[in-house]
Subunit: 400 residues, 2 copies
């Protein structure tokens, strides 16, 4: 049982962390930052391959120290691991290791609480505080081959779980009951049952199953679709209504199996549904086929939105696009360790696509009285266009 | 489908929010705060009975305004509801409504990100910024009769789900497989499938099922017990090991059904287990019986810890108490909208118990090679001692 003297980084991760560090230090240099201290869960996991209680100090030079708060519960060590009782011990340890005090010191201002930034800012009271969140958001926007492999594995598990959805339906089931059975097959497939998101507008359980009128119920959160939920404590997603013939059932459930995530939506039908819903679903697929071709490195993100919107206009479906009572000017987002990473795919985002970005693209429609339709896939940007990490049949599938 | 002109607060909540506001304004006065602006999800839900996208402004006088960010997705209104596009519009709206600018302005410094506090702080650049997190933490520490009723309902649902656990076990099942079946019965019982916690050291899926050696695997999070988890991305809880005869199975799964939560742990056995584990389990129950008597208003929280520890010493079980390889100096915590509320029950906490505090008390033991034992109940503090919101059989129950 005792695991003394194991390395913090598993050997496989040494070169991997090197690649990530290279991206980060380049961005730190551009941002005029001398060093930064990471403390947020997602970034600690990103730079260590595991979540631990502590901090990661990185210098623009590429030198890095892992500070583990005692008790060092993993019993890990390594040449770049230092145990501390509290963050106030960090500057003395860094001096001992030959580091100079930073003049421009980065902290994750968009993620850490005000109180925590105040505390960590005092480590270098003479330094200018910079925003490490920006740097990390940009660095994590493109993925390494190792990360893409993990996301591809996620996609395979998510598809395996989705392939069992048709068999889970029973007549007169509620949306919540169907969701619970989907959660079960996801979890048995290895889903961690936990969804890492960024910001406070992304509260949800393991995902969204919306159907009928509930697809048109607006939600205060930042998800593509709404749904009333079953409680004012968590107003999104399935609402407890019985699934009825003539409705669509949109399934947008979590794809986190190894710490990275894929995001994937498919739609089932309860018997025959209105032709408008079928047409809108095909329009979503047409948009994806088009974006798969045009989304190459160098293209501005907003061009993806514009092209999608042009197709929607051509088909006269604007009033149903990305919601009906409440519409979102958005068709997708970056995805990785967190469900909502950069870049968001919005009409004004001039960020340019880069190779190895991973994007969840979800052109969806809400058809009143029927439900939501559309497809979401997670893609990798390549010079030849988008590569699909969730290649699962996209057609509407009947549950009856 | 159109819900125009509904009130933000359901009528039942009007007097309820009044009670909560009274506690808050008293604490604001003590803290020398003129007004505060709440923006965190838990506190918005607490003061509105629903989560919405926006802010709540409260003056020491008890005057309050709900600021809803457009689109006002719930179509709600009311005399104290104002729609805005962005928080920068708040000061002008407040002036229009006759409010004076605050000299001491509270923001949730422990919850909101540094960037968000910076933005909101600029609303009143001449004001002194105070910490609204402290005030809200204290106000929420005691519960109103309405909240206690909701927590009692949570407890009933959680107990109903736990009563089905024995029937879920199948021979050679893994801990994860058992947890997934428990998640399913919890969800079908109405569990929201979402766990609101405070701080960044509380990541978990729907709870913890630990058994055998895995109970002794330390975790970097702030939960009472550890467990390796199945991924370095989420190192806590069930690890995927097959449940074996001679082991205990500790079940500490989520009890959130209506936005409030109960926290409850029970232990099952796989056939005969070591007498030491049985003794330690009875010691936990003895501690709870004792604390149920002595925990009355006025008692310092640390006295609960000390009394528990004295009983553990008397029985010679110190080396197994609250962990074995890694021990926590802690036996419980406040619970409510968030799983980990104030006060933590630690050796040094001199906070005095008050009537209507709700506490999860969890004296637990880790027995190497066997697993974890002990009971956790959620209680309300009353002048006559603790009232149990989770009165479910506490004996070890055999799964074989």
């Amino acid at each position: 049982m005792e695991n003394n003297n194991i390395e913090l980084l598993i050997p496989e991760l040494r070169p991997e962390v090197g690649l990530r560090l290279q991206k980060i230090t380049t961005l730190m240099d551009e941002a005029g930052m001398d060093a930064m201290l990471l403390a947020s869960n997602a970034n600690v996991f990103y730079m260590a391959g595991r979540f631990f209680r502590g901090y990661i100090y990185m210098e623009k030079s590429g030198k890095m120290v892992y500070f583990l708060i005692r008790p060092n519960c993993f019993n890990v060590n390594g040449k770049d691991v230092v145990e501390i009782r509290k963050p106030e011990m960090i500057p003395a340890e860094l001096t001992r290791l030959g580091f100079a005090a930073p003049a421009a010191f980065g902290l994750e201002l968009d993620t850490l609480s005000y109180s925590e930034v105040q505390r960590l800012g005092k480590l270098y009271p003479d330094a200018t505080i910079c925003n490490a969140s920006d740097v990390m958001r940009k660095a994590r926007m493109t993925k390494t081959p190792y990360e893409i492999r993990l996301m591809r594995e996620d996609g395979e598990h998510q598809m395996a779980a989705y392939s069992r959805i048709t068999g889970l339906y029973k007549r007169d089931m509620t949306d919540v009951e169907l969701q619970v059975e989907i959660e079960r097959v996801l979890r048995l497939e290895g889903n961690l049952g936990f969804l890492r998101t960024s910001g406070n507008l992304m509260e949800i359980n393991l995902g969204s199953v919306i159907s009928g009128d509930n697809a048109d119920a607006p939600s205060p959160y930042d998800f593509a679709m709404g749904g009333a939920g079953v409680s004012p404590a968590l107003p999104c997603g399935a609402c407890g209504d019985i699934l009825k013939p003539g409705q669509t059932v949109m399934v947008d459930m979590n794809g986190c199996f190894n710490g990275w995530q894929t995001d994937m939506t498919r739609v089932w039908t309860i018997g025959e549904v209105d032709q408008l819903a079928r047409d809108a679903h095909e329009c979503s697929r047409r948009i994806l086929r088009e974006l798969e071709k045009i989304a190459v490195p160098g293209v501005e993100v907003r061009e993806l939105y514009d092209r999608a919107h042009a197709i929607v206009e051509e088909e006269g479906l604007e009033q149903y696009f990305m919601g009906h009572r409440q519409q979102a000017a958005f068709i997708g987002h970056g995805v990785g360790i967190e469900l909502n990473e950069a870049p968001p795919i919005t009409p004004r985002n001039r960020v340019r696509l880069e190779a190895d970005m991973t994007l969840a693209i979800e052109p969806k429609f809400v058809i009143p009285g029927v439900g939501a339709v559309g497809v979401e896939n997670t893609y990798v940007v390549t010079p030849g266009g988008l590569q699909n990490l969730t290649p699962f049949p996209e057609e509407l599938t009947d549950l009856l």
